[in-house]
């Protein structure tokens, strides 16, 4: 049984990672083909660093992802707490349903509705779309990240229940102190995973940015998509490789660290 499940894990992760490995392989290609490997070279890494356009797009993507993850985490965590405390069942389910709309709705519909909305807003407040372009993008990303944050925090809050915050109130915390000193540390895993999820979603998003994006703010997925006029060059593969390797290394490091922590805990426990 154990061998079987290990084999299954290896099989699925293998299939999942073969395209990623292919991608990494072609980032080292000596020609600009992304389908036939002609030889090893670091050319595309050099090209990547030479292209200012790519870096602006990468910077934009990161700014957008960090900000929208932060904002949606703050609003979403507060919202989860608020929803948890709601007494009225009707309100609760109403808020939950509305929250889920951006997740249930196809991206393309969300993107389109957002674009139409912001064009209308820009017209009403008499500003050029361009000057609210970044804000529009940020708001759109935050909006579609929100449900992921709430859905990752809410179960933690439900699980935690009232007892801890009541104990904190009892010991003299104001409700806000109780939330920050006691509840937040205990729901932190949920908050963090919500934030990572939001960051990932925002970074990977193409469809919504494609609709909402403005002239002066191009993200990486938009840049890559626009390359399809000609062809997507391997320097984008090099960039993807760098991103994925960085994340992977961070992941392994944090895993080693938390593994050590766990070991220490075990020893301490005995």
């Amino acid at each position: 049984m154990k061998h079987l499940s290990r084999a299954y894990l290896i099989l699925i992760f293998g299939i999942l990672y073969i395209p990623i490995l292919t991608l990494i392989l072609f980032s080292f290609n000596s020609s600009n083909s992304t389908a036939s490997f002609t030889g090893f070279s670091l050319e595309w890494y050099a090209e990547l660093f030479a292209s200012a356009e790519t870096f602006i797009a990468l910077r934009n993507s990161l700014i957008l992802a960090v900000l929208s993850a932060l904002i949606s985490t703050v609003i979403g965590t507060a919202a989860a707490e608020g929803i948890y405390k709601m007494r009225s069942k009707f309100m609760k389910s109403a808020v939950n349903s509305v929250t889920n709309i951006p997740m249930m709705n196809p991206d393309i519909v969300t993107g389109m509705s957002m674009m139409l909305f912001f064009v209308a807003v820009a017209a009403i407040i008499g500003l050029e779309y361009e000057s609210i372009g970044f804000t529009a993008m940020l708001i759109s990303h935050t909006t579609f990240c929100l449900p992921y944050v709430i859905l990752s925090v809410l179960p933690r809050i439900n699980e935690l229940g009232d007892s801890l915050s009541e104990a904190a109130l009892d010991l003299g915390c104001t409700p806000i102190q109780a939330f920050f000193k006691v509840k937040l540390p205990n729901i932190m895993p949920g908050v963090l995973s919500g934030m990572i999820m939001a960051f990932t979603m925002s970074l990977d998003d193409f469809v919504i940015s494609y609709f909402v994006g403005s002239s002066n703010f191009q993200t990486l997925p938009l840049l890559i998509y626009s390359m399809t006029k000609k062809k997507v060059t391997p320097d984008m593969y090099a960039l993807s490789t760098l991103i994925i390797v960085t994340v992977f290394v961070l992941l392994v490091l944090s895993n080693i660290k938390s593994g050590k922590k766990l070991d220490a805990k075990k020893k301490g426990g005995k």
Partner: protein, 270 residues
């Protein structure tokens, strides 16, 4: 006085409610407006009525995504189960590994898949065969499964990992064979995870518009492609009408599906 009190309890949700109304409900109302007006802004049912011609495209999109979702479930459930049963420090690693491919760009991932599966691609070269995969519906389904598998695994994993370990023992103690334990106890208990997993795979795969173009070889069109084309050719009103109908259909079918589960918590991820 009591009213004020119960409102104050959930004040934390206020920013989110405000946000939702402004950036979810309002944009959708604008889509509604566009769907029921013609290009000149006059009220018309024409857009909605013209949708019948898109029925076959919609049906095909729906069918492909149903198959993709079913495959995701069949592959994803055991995966989620195995991960949930692994050592805690391993679990975190597996989940992150599952999400890691999402950090690379969707387009580039899709190109990599094409580089592998194409007629003259890596797979055929290695095996010395001439399988025709890219350009078939099977390839589109593969693409959907590849891209959306994490969305199936995460909610199920969350659900399964919460099931008490004693449940297995209790069930087998009461005379269940391992198969019966699975079908009578574990599966029903993970139903809410399955439902949110199914939702989170089905919805994006219905509306996906890049995978079908690239992996499907462009020999057929899915509803996402159609909306996108309407959008770029300036037929906003028809695009809005398709979006609206699609959204309503999806939300309806989801609410029907939710009837099958008793849980009122809705979807849970991570």
């Amino acid at each position: 006085m009591k009213k004020r009190h119960s409102f104050m309890r959930s004040i934390a949700a206020a920013p989110h409610i405000f946000w939702s109304v402004l950036f979810i409900i309002l944009p959708l109302l604008i889509v509604l407006y566009y769907a029921f007006t013609d290009a000149s802004g006059a009220f018309s049912f024409e857009n909605i009525l013209s949708l019948t011609e898109y029925a076959p495209i919609f049906a095909l999109s729906l069918e492909l995504s149903i198959i993709a979702t079913a495959i995701c479930l069949v592959i994803g459930y055991p995966l989620a189960y195995i991960i949930a049963k692994a050592k805690p420090e391993r679990q975190k690693l597996y989940i992150m590994l599952l999400m890691l491919p999402m950090w690379t760009n969707l387009l580039i991932r899709t190109y990599s898949i094409m580089a592998i599966l194409d007629d003259g691609g890596i797979l055929n070269t290695l095996l010395g065969t001439t399988m025709h995969i890219v350009g078939t519906k099977g390839a589109v389904i593969f693409g959907m499964v590849y891209d959306f598998l994490p969305y199936m695994v995460l909610p199920i994993y969350t659900c399964v990992s919460k099931i008490d370990k004693n449940m297995w023992e209790a069930a087998s103690d009461l005379g269940c064979s391992p198969v019966k334990v699975m079908t009578k106890v574990i599966l029903p208990l993970s139903m809410s995870g399955i439902i949110s997993g199914v939702t989170m795979v089905l919805v994006p795969s219905i509306s996906t518009f890049y995978i079908s173009q690239k992996l499907g070889g462009g020999t057929f069109e899915l509803i996402g492609d159609t909306i996108e084309r309407q959008f770029v050719t300036g037929a906003l009103n028809v695009g809005a009408a398709i979006s609206l109908v699609m959204m309503i259909l999806i939300l309806l079918s989801l609410s029907v599906m939710n009837k099958f589960t008793d849980s009122d918590e809705g979807g849970i991820i991570v």
